[in-house]
C-alpha cells in the first residue's frame, strides 16, 4: 500500500509540472508500445493512463454546450459501451489489470479528440471555462450513473471491483477551516469567501490557551446577527433565526440541532423559486452554501449536521433536470421528512426497543447518565413505561449544567433520581450498576466524541468495573479519526466559567491578567477500551465496528 501511494504521489508531481494537453503525441507512443509489446504496464503508468483518460474526457466534454442534453445522452451509450466491452473480458482480473485493457480500447477513440483539442488547450483556461468543464463533467458522470442503473447486468461486474480501490486510493483531503485558525492564509481565504457570500465574519474573543490556538473562540455576547443588515437579502430569515438559536445555546444537543436544521431547510425549499435560465438542482445547492457558512460562523457544525447536509445536497443534485419545480420541491420535502423520520425518530425507537428487550435495563438497576442526551432520556422513559424498576443517577457538570434539564424530564415521568456533580462521580459509583452515555459522533477509529466529561466518567466506571453503554444512531457515524481532544474541538465562551461564590468573583478581571486563561471545552473523545457496547438501530456493536457500518452504508448508497 505504501508503495502505491509513493508511486502515485510521484506520478502526480510529474503531472503537475506539465501543462494540460501536451501529452498527446508522447503518451500515444507509449500506449502503442505497451499495446504492441503486450507487457503489463507498471503501476505508475497505469495511474498516469487513468489520469490521462480523465483529462481527455474533460477536454472532450468542454466542447459540448451544457444545454444540449441530447449530445450527452448520445455519448452515454458510447462511454458506457467502452468500459462494458472490456468488462466482458475475463472479469476476474482486478481493476489494475483492467485499466490497460480498457485504455487501449478508448485510446483510439479519445486520441483523435485530444489531438484535435490539443492546440486549443494550450492557452491557460479561464476560471469560467474550468467551471463549465467541471459542470459538464459532473453532468456526464450523473448521466452515466443513471444509465448504469439501467444496465444492471454488465455494471455489476464493473461496480463490484470499484469498492476496494476506493479504500486504497491516496487520500487527498482538505483540512476543514475551523481547525486552522492559527494559519493566516486560511483566515484570509475564509474572509474572502464570506465577503463574496455577503456574510459577516465573526471575530475571536479573549485570550486563547496556547494549546488551542488553532481553534475559534467566540463570545456569546456578540452574536453574528448584530452585524447583519435588516432586511437581509442573502440569508433566509428561518436560517437567521436558527443561527441565533445555535449561538445562544437555545437549540443544543446533536439531534435537536440536526432536526432544527432540516426543518429550516424545508422552509427554505418551500420559499424557493428557480430563477430563469437556472436549473433547480444546481442553483438550490448554490443557494444553500452561504446559509451553511452563516450557520458555521454562528456555531461550528456538528458531525450529524454535516451528514444531514451531505444527504440533502445529494438529493438535490439527483433531481432530474426535466422535473417540474413543484414536483421537485415536494419530492425534496418528502425526502427530508423521511430522513428525519427514519434516521432520528425511528432509530431512537428501535434503539430503545433493543435496549429494553435485550435486558440492558433490568429491575433493580441503578443507572448513571451524564448531561442531557435526548436518546438516553427517551430510552429511560420507555423502560419506565414498560414497568422496569430502576433508579437513575444524573451527573452534571459546569458550566452548562445540562443535567438539570435531564433531571426535570425524568422526575416528571416519575423516575426516582439522584443528582450529583461530576466531581462526586467516584463517590457515587460503587452504587451504580450500569452507565448509559449519549454520543455526539462516533469516529472511524472507534473513539466516541461526546460532551466534555464523558471520557472521565467512562474512565472512573472502568476503574470500578461498571459496564459503560453508549447509545448512538448511525447517522452520527463519521469518517474522521481522532485520538485526543485537542486537534479538533470547540471552544465555548470563556466568560461562562466566571462564578460568584461567597460574595466574591475571583475571575471577574481575568482579561486584565496577562498570564491567565480560561478554557471552556465542549467536546472530548473517549477511547474505545472504556466503552463496552454501542447500541445502534442496526443492533449492538462494539466500538471498533464503526468503520464496518460506514462501509456498508456507503455501498448501499
Amino acid at each position: 500500500m505504501l508503495d502505491l501511494l509513493t508511486l502515485a504521489s510521484r506520478a502526480c508531481k510529474r503531472y503537475s509540472c506539465r501543462r494540460h494537453g501536451e501529452y498527446g503525441p508522447g503518451r500515444k507512443d507509449e500506449i502503442e508500445r505497451a499495446k504492441s509489446e503486450g507487457k503489463d504496464l507498471t503501476k505508475e503508468e497505469k495511474q498516469r493512463l487513468r489520469k490521462e483518460k480523465k483529462q481527455q474526457k474533460k477536454s472532450k466534454e468542454k466542447k459540448d454546450d451544457k444545454a444540449s442534453q441530447e449530445n450527452e445522452k448520445e455519448k452515454k451509450p458510447v462511454t458506457s459501451a467502452a468500459p462494458a466491452a472490456p468488462a466482458s473480458q475475463p472479469p476476474t482480473k482486478p481493476t489494475m489489470q483492467k485499466a490497460p485493457s480498457a485504455v487501449p480500447a478508448t485510446a483510439p477513440v479519445s486520441v483523435p479528440a485530444s489531438e484535435a483539442s490539443g492546440p486549443a488547450d494550450k492557452p491557460a483556461k479561464t476560471k469560467a471555462e474550468l467551471k463549465a468543464e467541471r459542470r459538464a463533467r459532473q453532468e456526464a458522470e450523473r448521466a452515466s450513473k443513471q444509465s448504469k442503473k439501467g444496465e444492471t447486468g454488465q455494471q455489476a461486474t464493473t461496480s463490484k471491483p470499484k469498492a476496494p480501490p476506493s479504500d486504497l486510493q491516496p487520500v487527498v483531503k482538505r483540512l476543514p477551516e475551523h481547525i486552522q485558525v492559527d494559519n493566516p492564509d486560511v483566515l484570509k481565504k475564509l474572509a474572502k469567501k464570506l465577503e463574496r457570500q455577503q456574510i459577516p465574519l465573526r471575530l475571536d474573543y479573549g485570550y486563547k490557551v496556547s494549546l488551542f490556538s488553532h481553534l475559534h473562540q467566540y463570545s456569546r455576547k456578540a452574536p453574528l446577527t448584530q452585524q447583519l443588515s435588516i432586511p437581509s437579502t442573502v440569508i433566509h430569515p428561518a436560517i437567521v433565526r436558527l443561527g441565533l438559536q445555535y449561538s445562544h445555546g437555545i437549540v443544543a444537543g446533536s439531534n435537536a440541532r440536526s432536526v432544527a436544521l432540516l426543518h429550516a431547510f424545508k422552509q427554505v425549499i418551500r420559499d424557493y423559486t428557480t430563477p430563469p435560465n437556472e436549473e433547480l438542482s444546481r442553483d438550490l445547492v448554490n443557494k444553500l452554501k452561504p446559509y451553511i457558512s452563516f450557520l458555521n460562523q454562528c456555531r461550528p457544525l456538528s458531525a450529524s449536521m454535516g451528514n444531514a447536509i451531505k444527504y440533502i445536497k445529494k438529493e438535490i443534485s439527483n433531481i432530474p433536470s426535466n422535473c417540474k419545480e413543484e414536483e421537485a420541491k415536494s419530492k425534496l420535502l418528502n425526502d427530508i421528512e423521511s430522513y428525519i423520520n427514519e434516521k432520528i425518530i425511528l432509530a431512537g425507537v428501535a434503539i430503545a426497543k433493543c435496549a429494553i428487550e435485550k435486558q440492558k435495563i433490568s429491575d433493580g438497576d441503578v443507572i448513571l447518565v451524564y448531561g442531557c442526551s435526548s436518546l438516553v432520556n427517551h430510552i429511560l422513559c420507555e423502560a419506565f413505561e414498560k414497568s422496569r424498576k430502576f433508579r437513575v443517577i444524573v451527573v452534571d457538570s459546569r458550566p452548562r449544567l445540562e443535567g438539570k434539564e435531564a433531571l426535570r424530564r425524568l422526575v416528571q415521568k416519575g423516575i426516582s433520581c439522584t443528582y450529583v456533580l461530576i466531581s462526586a462521580v467516584s463517590y457515587i459509583l460503587p452504587e451504580v450498576s450500569k452507565v448509559f452515555l449519549g454520543a455526539h459522533a462516533l469516529l472511524a477509529n472507534g473513539y466516541v466524541m461526546s460532551r466534555v466529561g464523558t471520557s472521565q466518567i467512562a474512565l472512573v466506571a472502568k476503574a470500578f468495573n461498571v459496564p459503560v453503554l453508549v447509545c448512538c444512531e448511525t447517522y452520527k457515524f463519521c469518517d474522521r479519526v481522532q485520538t485526543d481532544s485537542f486537534v479538533s474541538n470547540e471552544l465555548d465562551d470563556p466568560d461562562d466559567l466566571i462564578v460568584t461564590r461567597k460574595g466574591t468573583t475571583p475571575l471577574e478581571g481575568w482579561q486584565n491578567e496577562s498570564s491567565l486563561g480560561l478554557l471552556n471545552l465542549v467536546y472530548d473523545v473517549t477511547p474505545p477500551d472504556f466503552v463496552d457496547l454501542v447500541i445502534t438501530e442496526l443492533g449492538m456493536i462494539p466500538c471498533t465496528s464503526v468503520p464496518v457500518v460506514l462501509r456498508v452504508k456507503n455501498v448501499d448508497q
Partner: protein, 338 residues
Amino acid sequence: MPGPYKETDLTERVEAFLSDLKRGGTGAGPLRGSAETARETTALLRKITAQARWGSAGDLMEIIRKEGRRMTAAQPSETTVGNMIRRVLKIIREEYARSRGSSEEADQESLHKLLTSGGLSEENFRQHFPPLKANVIEAINELLTELEGTTDNIAMQALEHIHSNEVIMTIGRSRTVEAFLKDAARKRKFHVIVAECAPFCQGHEMATNLSKAGIETTVITDAAIFAVMSRVNKVIIGTQTVLANGGLRAINGTHTLALAAKHHSTPLIVCAPMFKLSPQVRDYSKVRILSKVNVHCPVFDYVPPELITLFISNIGGHAPSYIYRLMSELYHPEDHEL
C-alpha cells in the same frame, strides 16, 4: 494568685476556639487553612499546659485528652486538631520518660520490642517532676516553630521537582501548593492548569493568585480533567489529611484526577506537611437531601495509595509506603484513640 482569673480566661479561650471550629467547617470549606488551625491548637495546648492545674504528667494528659475530645467532636472533618493533640501527648510522654531518666524507648523499632514493651504503659505517669512543666512548654514551642516553617520547607524543595516548560495540573485551592509553585516560578518558566473544583470553585482563587505571580495559568472545568490530562507532565495537589495507609482524604474530585493521572502514567505528587498525617483510615463525606430528588454533595474524596507517586513534606520526600513509619515517629500508639 491569679488562679481563678487564669482559669476563666483559659476556659474562655477554649470555648472561643471550639465555636470557631464549629463555624469554620459548615460545608463552605475551611474558613482558615489547616496550618492556621494547627498553630492555634498548639498555642491553645501550650496555654492549657501553662495555666491549668495539674500535678503529674498523667493529670496533664487527662486534661488534654478531655479538651481534645471536645475539639474533635466540634469539627470532625478538621483532623489537624486531633493530630496536634496527639503530638503534644507524645511530647509529654517523651519529656516524662526523659525526666525519669529511662532510656529513649519511644522508638519501638522491632516487633519484639513492640510486644514486650509493657514497661512504659504500666507506668501511669503519676510521678511529679518540677521541671516537667518547663520542658513540656519548651518542646511545644519547638513544635510551634516547626509548624511555622512547614510551608517554607516544602516550598524550598520545589526546584528539585519542577523543570522548565512543564505543564503542571492541580485542583482546588491549597496554600501549600501555591507556595510551592510560586517558589519554583522564581527560577523556572512553566504552565499550570487549575481544575476549578465545583461547586465551591476554589480553583478560581488559586488561579488568580498564581497568575498574579506571573505563572501562565489556565482554568478548566472538572469535566475537562481527563480531556487535557494527556498534555500534562505532573499533577501536584494538596490534601486535607494523609491517612495511615498512605491514602488521602482530599477535596472532592481528587480521586478522578488521580485515576486520570494513572491512566496517562503521569506522576501524582502530594504536598502535605507532617501535621496532616492522621492515624485514621476511614473516609468521610457530607450528604444533603432535598425533597423528591436526592442530592449528594460530598466534600472529600478518598484516594487510595496506589494512585500516589510521592509525598513532599517539610521533612523531605517519601513514598506512600513509608507513611506508616512516620506515623510511629510522630504519635504514640496509645494515643491513636483519644
